[in-house]
Amino acid sequence: MLKLSDVSVRYGMYEALSDISLTVEKGELVVLLGANGAGKSTIFRTISGLNKPVKGTVEFNGESIGGRSASKLVKKGIGHCPEGRKLFPAMSVYENLRMGTYAVRGDKKETARMLEHVYELFPILSEKAKENAGSLSGGQQQMLAIGRALMSRPKVVLFDEPSIGLAPLITEQVFNVIREINKEGTTVLLAEQNANAALRIADRGYVIENGRIVVSGTQDELMQNDEVRKAYIGA
């Protein structure tokens, strides 16, 4: 459903991604592992149209989308829950969720259904619907970010390090929700530094180092692989 072939991205002179090829099948939960700065976020930003590849193709459902603008891609069904959440701090929780439907606004019924669903996944958001996003705790903000990404009814969602700065208990809760979302049929691509927790819910994974894919494999293969560990702490 999502396919990157030999994608390279540059920031000025620096090649942030070199010849990245990866695929995500419909319904899968795929995880990207790697240390900070390895290139995970750049992959995500390239898929969702925030960065343009200098080389290679990005395909979504067979259609080439490399270089398309982010606003068009959201419409096509790519949801992106970014690193750092990128919420609208002075808007209420409800308004943030409503903004999530921006690309697919119009269908009021679906929006209402989706809102219901997000509140189901994260009851706390329903409780705090009228509060400003900026006043929420880190975990709640992460939930809101996930919820907002879901509001556009994406076919595939990219979660970029959703566990950052979250207490372990909350992290687990977030991962459970991600798994649930995946089970409901949404394809998920997850970038994590929290490797083990991520692998536990993933079908497959890729390990990124210095902008390249160094290892890929199924959940089990990666769990046994020392490369994962090396990619993180250099040993």
């Binding site: 000025g12 390895a38 993180y232 702490i233 040993a235």
Partner: protein, 258 residues
């Protein structure tokens, strides 16, 4: 210990970015500060270099309390730093960028400048020589007259190093020196950092490229959630359960049990 912090804490609103951190940086050694994203590493740097005032705790440099000092005064004491993103003066030459680094060791004022006093001439000469010296040190002597916008990313990093070195520091704090450069270049930078130690400097760096860190650092401090969770040699860190958990995620044992 060249630099020591005790109970160092920084709060931004409700968020505790650095929480009761106690670290010591040994003279002539490479100390690395690592930790997952958002662990508070950069904030720690900002506190030590006087860029943010700390909420609690103390920082000493050679036994002197520098907690309340402003950044430019801290620089004068011999503490230099670089930034994650190098904000150099792009449309000036490398040399011009670096010369000003020695400004804090000079005393010339507007009066000296306008009347070209001997002091100014002396200090300009010193600044220029210093710049040439540090550029040679970082291996950029041949790029000295190019514009910064025309040199490579790695060379820019070196310019930033040179600028920091031109302040005649005793200790240099490097914030993600290898971010945004390719693996080969990373190697070269690591060599440069070692060279700095050989010259008697002390280096403290934040870095995410673990291979580089593990091969380079003498001492590693690991932060997570603003707290120091471990410190030790690279070997110790690599086998430290808590560190592995911080990086690879909770439930490691749990996962193996499955």
């Amino acid at each position: 210990m060249l630099i020591e912090t005790k109970g160092l804490t920084k709060r931004f609103g409700g968020l505790v970015a650095v929480n009761d951190v106690e670290i010591g940086i040994e003279k002539g050694k490479i100390t690395a500060i690592i930790g997952p994203n958002g662990a508070g590493k950069s904030t720690l740097f900002n506190l030590i270099s006087g860029y943010h005032p700390s909420s609690e705790g103390s920082i000493t440099f050679k036994g002197e309390d520098i907690t309340k000092k402003r950044s430019f005064n801290i620089a004068k004491l011999g503490i230099a730093r670089t930034f994650q993103t190098t904000n150099l003066f792009e449309t000036a030459t490398v040399m011009d960028n670096v010369i000003v680094g020695h400004r804090l060791r000079t005393k010339s004022n507007v009066f000296d400048a306008v009347f070209r006093t001997p002091r100014l001439r002396r200090e300009e000469q010193a600044s220029r020589e210093k710049a040439a010296e540090v550029l040679e040190f970082v291996g950029l002597e041949h790029e000295a007259h190019r514009l910064v916008q025309d040199i490579s990313q790695e060379a820019k990093k070196r310019v930033a190093f040179a600028l920091a070195l031109a302040t005649d520091p005793e200790i240099v704090f490097l914030d993600e020196p290898a971010a945004g450069i390719n693996p080969d270049e990373t190697e070269n930078l690591a060599a440069l950092i070692r060279k700095m130690i050989d010259r008697g400097l002390t280096v403290c760096l934040i870095e995410h490229k673990m291979q580089m860190i593990m091969g380079l650092a003498d001492h590693i401090v690991v932060l997570n959630y603003g707290k120091k969770i471990a410190e030790g040699t690279p070997e110790e860190i690599q086998t430290n359960e808590e560190v592995i958990e911080a990086y690879l995620g909770g439930g490691d044992k749990h996962a193996e049990a499955e």
